[in-house]
């Protein structure tokens, strides 16, 4: 029987799944809050997302964690989806495709982590 190479997909698949769940749970509400409610002053006071408020949110341990999780899981989800969609339209997964998808996600993850930690507690 031919020997088969174990796929490394579980790593990316779990990040994809985690990101998909986060997107489903929080995505629509985040769009509503940041894109509609706050700018239009619906339901929430207009200053909700002012710089001092958001800075305080990002300096809070839980707020920092939430922002990081939303950014890094969303981007890994998007990367995996893009990688597979590219395969489906005939752009097959070479090093360049991986760099442009998973590579970008990795860079964004590092930037998000560094910036969030740099904001202090």
């Amino acid at each position: 029987m031919k020997t088969r190479k174990r796929s490394n997909a579980p790593i990316f698949w779990l990040l994809f799944g985690g990101g998909g769940m986060m997107a489903a749970l929080f995505g629509p509400m985040l769009v509503f809050i940041t894109g509609i409610a706050v700018p239009l002053g619906l339901l929430l006071p207009t200053g909700t997302m002012s710089y001092p408020n958001m800075l305080a949110f990002a300096q809070n341990f839980i707020g920092k964690g939430f922002i990081f999780v939303v950014i890094f899981l969303f981007i890994w989800h998007a990367a995996h989806r893009t990688f597979h969609s590219a395969h489906e339209i005939g752009i097959h997964g070479g090093p360049l495709t991986k760099l442009m998808t998973y590579g970008v996600a990795a860079v964004v993850t590092v930037i998000a982590g560094v910036v969030l930690l740099g904001l202090g507690f």
Binding site: R4, R6, S7, A9, P10, W13, L14, E88
Partner: protein
């Protein structure tokens, strides 16, 4: 007697001895309301062109031989009725994602290899003697796998699967449903052996969860579910293999 109805059936023909590529031929077939597409194709063979080649056997959706693309959808031609298409033309082609051997007959060798590779038989957890008697299985244990035993190897799911089309070595929905059938059997202890294939680069992660395989399945096996449950199993195996005393699959 009512007027004889005529349906146009367009058949994808391919004769390996003379044709460079497949081509279509249209036949005008008289039919009655109780006639299946398979009977329409048989009418063509009996009355218009005896060289038309296709597989069939039981005529009752249990042998899994007569799968064809009917108006672009993978179906068993024996349980698909001409009356449901009339007065439109019916197009009949060999199953997608398989090499055509002749006319509507596809080359099964790739599928057979995949079927063999999943070890579709009970691999006992430990050797068992006759004195130990029969296996005892509860209705709950039986219910775990019974759905996946309904597969008739008709390969409609492979014809439906876009990921099989892109990656022909993908073990595919049908074989994964059978792999799952044996893994879920309380008498079986072969999950770790089968994991090598399921977790490989030709394994479950080729699947993009399109789900069309389960939609076309004539036996409601839900092979897409079997594939996706095994993504979870393969992911667990990937991360937990270092903790497992047996070391998991290689």
């Amino acid at each position: 007697m009512s007027e004889q109805k005529i349906i146009e059936i367009e058949v994808l023909r391919y004769l390996p001895e003379s044709d460079q590529a497949p081509h279509s031929e249209v036949y005008k077939v008289p039919f009655t309301d109780d006639m299946s597409v398979l009977q329409g194709v048989q009418y063509i063979k009996d009355n218009f062109d005896g060289s038309l080649t296709f597989r069939w056997s039981c005529r009752m959706a249990i042998c899994g031989s007569c799968g064809m693309m009917i108006n672009g959808v993978p179906k068993l031609s024996c349980e698909t009725f001409i009356r449901d298409y009339y007065p439109r033309r019916i197009s009949v082609e060999a199953l997608d994602n398989f090499p055509i051997e002749k006319d509507l007959v596809v080359d099964l060798s790739g599928f057979i290899e995949k079927l063999e590779a999943i070890q579709p038989y009970i691999i006992p957890k430990e050797p068992r003697t006759v004195e130990q008697g029969e296996y005892i299985q509860t209705p709950a244990q039986f219910a775990e796998y019974i759905q996946y035993t309904s597969c008739i190897n008709c390969m409609l799911c492979y014809a439906a699967c876009p990921h099989t089309g892109l990656d022909p070595d993908f073990v595919g929905p049908g074989a994964m449903a059978l792999l799952h059938r044996y893994n879920m059997d309380s008498r079986d202890g072969g999950q770790a052996q089968r994991m090598e294939l399921a977790a490989s680069e030709d394994g479950v992660f080729v699947c993009g969860a399109t789900g069309y395989c389960s939609e076309v399945c004539p036996k409601k096996v839900d092979p897409g579910n079997a594939v996706n449950i095994n993504k979870i199993n393969a992911a667990k195996d990937y991360f937990l293999r270092f903790l497992s005393p047996k070391g998991g699959a290689k």
